[in-house]
Symmetry: C2
Subunit: 145 residues, 2 copies
């Protein structure tokens, strides 16, 4: 018999109990059988499915994307084009995030480099964090149309 309690399933998949119940509530993980004492009793297919969910979540897919991937995985006869497209799109999003964070890192480093260790009033870090706004002011005033 391979029945698992929610705690065992959680340890097996490195998932918090509350998260498992949450996945059930939003329909991502099917509701399992219940014991006489109303405890959830999970079978091997739940372990497999939750493992898939965790893995895809760890890879940064949204819940909706996971839902989509699960639906696709259930249709073994279809070509895997759609699956690939989902992964490609997610890869693109990931690359944009990396690019944005890399720019950010450069800015933070430049900001730090500018500091000579004086007082806050003369600190170039604080100045670097305050953007110039005067230039934009004219454009904006009276632009109600």
């Amino acid at each position: 018999m391979d029945a698992l309690t929610i705690g065992q399933l959680g340890r097996a998949t490195d998932t918090k109990i509350e998260t498992i119940r949450y996945y059930e509530k939003i329909g991502l993980l099917p509701a399992p059988r219940r014991t006489a004492g109303n405890y959830r009793s999970y079978a091997a297919e739940h372990l497999q499915r939750l493992g898939f969910i965790r893995r895809t979540r760890d890879l940064g897919f949204t819940i909706e994307q996971v839902r989509e991937l699960l639906k696709l995985a259930a249709h073994g006869e279809k070509p895997c084009e759609e699956v690939d497209q989902l992964v490609v799109r997610h890869l693109e999003v990931t690359e944009r995030k990396i690019a944005a964070l890399t720019r950010l890192r450069r800015e933070l480093r430049e900001t730090l480099d500018s500091c000579q260790g004086g007082r806050i009033a003369e600190c170039r870090v604080i100045q670097a964090l305050s953007p110039p706004t005067a230039a934009r002011k004219k454009r904006v005033l009276g632009s109600r149309t």
Copy 2:
């Protein structure tokens, strides 16, 4: 006179009106004067302060960190060590994020590379997304102590 309506302030700082009101509610941006018709009327210092907030938020600092930076910026006489530390810590967080996303990108690329363009049932992408769980099972069962 440099009084701005909330809409003008929003355009000047690329900030949604709701966000400005939200910043006021959480005490990040001081409440401005009101006109006879109960409209918010912003002065130059609001523009400057909201600019600072937006810039630091864009750099990925949390609201609490922004609050801290604003408090420090108001104490011009203190050494700028604390400011630097905040930026250094944020830089470290950013670097960890970049590292995590870079690992992720590699995994997504490897997943995609494994696909030959067949049917979902044989698709290596779906398989790559399903982690092996059998090995972990023994450890977990009966580990109630």
